[in-house]
Amino acid sequence: MIEFANVSRRYANGQFGLQDINFRLPTGRMAFLTGHSGAGKSTLLRLIPALDRPTSGKVLIGGYDLNKMGRHQYPKLRRQIGVVFQDHHLLTDRLVFDNVALPLQVSGYLPGDVRRRVDAALDKVGLLGRQRARIEELSGGEQQRVNIARALVNRPRILLADEPTGNLDPDLSRDIFDRFFEFHAVGVTVLIASHDVELLKQYPVPRIALNEGRISAFEEAES
């Protein structure tokens, strides 16, 4: 479960990234996060794996208050959260395989398991044949899919995606969203930031709309 209670994030320059955010996403649920550019979507997502801290208010993950969590507890939290970063954070001089394998190696899997899981994750994003390619040899869309595969590979309890289909054509975007939806169907909590309104409409998923750092609307799933 993800819960935000009166969360604000004010940047050093005085600008508010988020202001008084309250919402709750129960375990196994899925939601979309929408809003204009600069509305605070990335700011909100970064608070969940404690990549950033709120200036006030509480973020609770699975009932744990992140404010009360010490630095040494972050790794454990982050291993349970898969993140598709808006800015890829891929190691461009490394192979596709190495990039996707990293979360597994970091959490203590042996090479055999790593290989199997990396294969499975790359298969899900349609890049099975590209393991040995270097990231810099891939197109923008392909890099984005590696980014997605890396978030899925650990079978996280929570999946966060920040503009995951920014570089993808409509067919591929749909395909990726189907994957996320499948994850949600097997019990993973999923939160996706996107402003691809047409695409979002196709899924029976509630939407949290942000506007200038505040929640402007909470729309229940259509259909």
């Binding site: 972050y74 993140v83 970091v106 203590g108 079978r155 019990g187």
Partner: protein, 320 residues
Amino acid sequence: MSGPTINEARANSEKSRRPLAAWRRHHRQCLRGAFSRLIRRPVGAWATILVLGVVLSLPALVMTLGHQVERLGAIWMSDAARMDIYLATDADEAARQTLRDWLDRQATVAEQRVIPPEEGLEALTERLHIDGLETLESNPLPWVIELTLSDARADTRLALAEGLREQSAVAEFSSGDDWIQRLEQIRAFFDELGWWLLILLGMTVVFVVGNTLRLELHERRREIALIALIGGTERYMLRPLLYDGTLSGLLGGVVASGLVGLALSVTSGPIERFAASYGAAISPQIDPALVLLLMTAGALLGWLSAQVIGRFYIGRLSTP
């Protein structure tokens, strides 16, 4: 992903996680990585190791110098393992015999030779090249017993001196032990100086290794930041660095040992000749304990450096 429920998937996931085996594997990987980085980036890495070697060799050279002084001093002092006892003027034949018997019983006395005053006067005359001393009305010289001691150590001499003070027939004896004590003090001084230098220069080592590691951290900063984002622990990020630092330090210790060995072999000629002139044979060689000390100190300092620099930079790279 169809079929398995989330719980099955999670159970599977937990089963295939092998933290201990993976931890061992990561250690092996980091060790191999440290070696391969050394081979891949030879200039910078080896320059650091060379600097370490030179820095560490300084205290080692001082300590070695101390040991050589000790060994050469012992040879030199073997000549000085002697003591002259001057008897009291009122000591008669019986008193002299009592003293000689007592000396015979001392384990520290190897040999004794009695020099009567007449013989002493003759020797003195000869040595000073003066005539007419025979004409002196009475011989002013006392009876002398010349001792050869079992060894040249200061304690031996001190123990004997204590006994001698109790003997009534003894008026005076040449102590000579201040020379030996001085030599021992010199060696102790060199040893202490060596340790202080090691500590002082050890800090230099921490900075030299630290600077190289900092460059490496800078090169890998994106990877480290990413590992932090996906849940890598600080230890995991630190591990390769610890291996790099320890390996550099260890090799620095090896280079330092080599330098000390080189210095010894260059000076071995004069040292051997000196020893030979006293009928002794020594070939100066680096003390294995010193090699061990240098390698241990190098490795420890390298490791320490990686801890300090690593924790500082990784902390900065991985906090939001």
